[in-house]
Symmetry: C2
Subunit: 527 residues, 2 copies
Amino acid sequence: MATWKNLDTLSSYKKLQELKNHVNIVEAMSGENGAKRVAEYSVPMAGGQAFNFAAKEVDDAVLEALAELAKEHELIDKYKELLNGAVINTGEKRLVLHQLARKQQLDPVVVDGVDKGEFYLSQHKKAADFANKVHAGEITNAAGEPFTTVVQIGIGGSDLGPRALYIALENWARTNGTLKMEAKFISNVDPDDASAILAATDLAHSLFIVVSKSGTTLETLTNEAFVKDALTKAGLDPSKHMLAVTSETSPLAKSADYLEAIFMDDYIGGRYSSSSAVGGVVLSLAFGPEVYAQILEGAAEEDALALNEDIMANPDLLDALIGVYEVNVQGYNTTAVLPYSQALSRFPAHLQQCDMESNGKSVNRFSEPVSYSTGPIIFGEPGTNGQHSFYQLLHQGTNIVPIQFIGYKDSQIGNDVVIEGSTSQKKLCANVVAQIMAFACGKDDENLNKKFDGGRPSSIIVGDQLTPKSLGALLAHFENKIMFQGFVWNLNSFDQEGVQLGKVLAKRVLAHDTDGALKAYSDLFEI
Amino acid sequence: MATWKNLDTLSSYKKLQELKNHVNIVEAMSGENGAKRVAEYSVPMAGGQAFNFAAKEVDDAVLEALAELAKEHELIDKYKELLNGAVINTGEKRLVLHQLARKQQLDPVVVDGVDKGEFYLSQHKKAADFANKVHAGEITNAAGEPFTTVVQIGIGGSDLGPRALYIALENWARTNGTLKMEAKFISNVDPDDASAILAATDLAHSLFIVVSKSGTTLETLTNEAFVKDALTKAGLDPSKHMLAVTSETSPLAKSADYLEAIFMDDYIGGRYSSSSAVGGVVLSLAFGPEVYAQILEGAAEEDALALNEDIMANPDLLDALIGVYEVNVQGYNTTAVLPYSQALSRFPAHLQQCDMESNGKSVNRFSEPVSYSTGPIIFGEPGTNGQHSFYQLLHQGTNIVPIQFIGYKDSQIGNDVVIEGSTSQKKLCANVVAQIMAFACGKDDENLNKKFDGGRPSSIIVGDQLTPKSLGALLAHFENKIMFQGFVWNLNSFDQEGVQLGKVLAKRVLAHDTDGALKAYSDLFEI
């Protein structure tokens, strides 16, 4: 059994702190030494990708200290315990099994007589069977016509991850002939969100997936009512157009209101649920079950890499440790995620949830306050767009923002033009390469307004193409990075008590049970 | 003439620094005092909105110190100089005239014999005339059929602002019968961006606007070539489908390749160009010139409020000053922009550019290094979605993130459902109200995992409805806030030298003129 300790109790952490500002990347990345770092500071990932950290503020001494920290902190042992079904989510007393849902476990995990691996597999199969029947025209609307659109109704993890993955593969699937149905998403309780999407949707040929583990998420039930209302007004029977993704004990599970109910459980949290039925149903309907299976396969391969004790063969652990060095030694409190791929336009929003909701905490897994910084603030937009926007601050601002670049050699559609001697795809790649070096090494200038200090660290995940498999590996990479960082900070990364108070107060506002400032604000909005 | 000084030379700044942690908002916002603050700490904005800062870490003593700073720093005088045509953009030796383009000047601004107010007006008129002719069917495609879609090709400020405004009003316009044409946007040099949009667009009935001040922006010219290629392949004559928004001296200005060229100039920077032809042409085509005029009217009214010497009657200046207190006294280096309005889904991305590109700088307007923090990192997503995502960190993380909420009493479409006794719109409003109080006052709990410390400051802009006029005021509010903060930090907020180095290096990569790490990275991508 691994021992769960606060970061600041480790002797390896004290050593690491002595390495503050140890590497000057302006120097390290200049000349041939820079080329050597690019060649050597690279760790293979699944899906034909590599995690290259040459432009991070590390050298062999820092890496050695990080390896020592990983060892002293028993990080791989902790991961193995998680895979073997330990109660890692201490606050809610739950197992954490999203890796199991993509078949990455050491021993079978059995809970109350249920083999959980079998359970997740059975639900993936149920989703696949349903999707295949829809695609084959065996499940149709009342007029016997095929469904062409699928609309996911969910919020938070039921929305961000599946939406980011759908957008990431929509063009790939269209190009490769596997786009079976268009997918849309309704999430916000803002009535204009549902209204606008429904107005632009061919209701008669649409399937709606209601996603709520408890079956009581207010935003989702409200939007379900919105959809039912619209279907009824269009003369359609909602029960012939809706399915549920929910827990077996939820009120939605056995309702006649749905064509089918596919199940999730308490052991895969919302922000990790792209690998459960929450992602499985909508993505299997959109792309076909085979494509969804490839996403899981890429993720499972990355999960296997994360078992490596050697940090130089473990991209997820290494990325996590470098991030800890940046937060706790260098004192940076934000991270920018900048994919040079329009397909990953919503991937930063997914990571923003996954990271900030997991590790944005001030108490450890035993509910004791910690006295060090934990999860950073995550934000990002696709390059090259960001270059023409907030990069000014990243290059010359008074804050240092570590960067996570992502880029692919090939585009997904393959359609391109040559302008000034290069394709758009080459220009895209040239830009991310240029940015890494501009951030790392900067440029001197007599006019200080045109001077770049450099010394701004970045890593890049490089791949051949964004495919279902590389996307799955990318998803798992960040999930595992976040998991390892949670272990380092001794957090419970799998609850989210910080979202509760707002819910309670919102109910009081709606019940007019308010006084003081809460009433005064309610009056401003005439609630 | 106002005197331009560094912030840390001001005696009022020293006084302000003595007020660090002066206000405990848990106490200040509790009980009837909290209600009193909500009533009193509110400043009217244009477009029927108000800036409410009750939940910020200020009281009358802090406000007095901020007012003193505004006075000592001659902030209103500096704004007046800008309006009167001073060379505020010192680096590029340019005037700054975006407020003039919405008719907010003190004296006429004449440059080289040209009355710039007249110039902007003439271009708005040219855009309006063109749009009216398209809407009336006087300008059609070669087959005499009406244009139904407009596609803006631009990047950075030519994309983010106009796109955010279009999304903000699309549903409003559809509901109010003024949606004349659907608008789309192509920005990224990623070939998949243009390919996917073109594949989903009815080319024969589309107008394309090429937006580039210089006529040499590589991303935009590349995407223009993409579009021309697609039009030609579809058997269409590109010159009958394209217009240009560019400077009078650009190669695009007099080209026969365009149906029309509408002009911008050097005195309105990209990120402020929603008020120039960059925003005017696409928004006039999409919504009609009258709607665009209302946006400008709302902005102009807000610009007028920004002239008030009294900070309690100047929402833009006050918001700016509170932000400076948060950055430079309280030490917070990020700000979250959280609109409770799905229509504002891309407004945070626009503000991210506008703010971070303007004030993410380390040298003052005289190119001398400053020794204080400047512009914060800006990020945000719409509520209630964010509540189910990164709010965990905002509530319980180890970083304090000041928040800028935005909310409206009424939805834009008006379609709604009642669930559990309230409409979706009421739920939306109840949630933002609840969040303000949860952040401010927190909640005690024996289990520290369920405890909320509170003390997390926020302000809210409250309005009746997001309309063209209130949106214009909102846009101007933040532009003016950024301008005032730039004055406080003694920056040139209107250049962006930090984006240059990346461009230079990208060209070297494409020319294979590389060595060391730059070559090694290029090889990774097989450029």
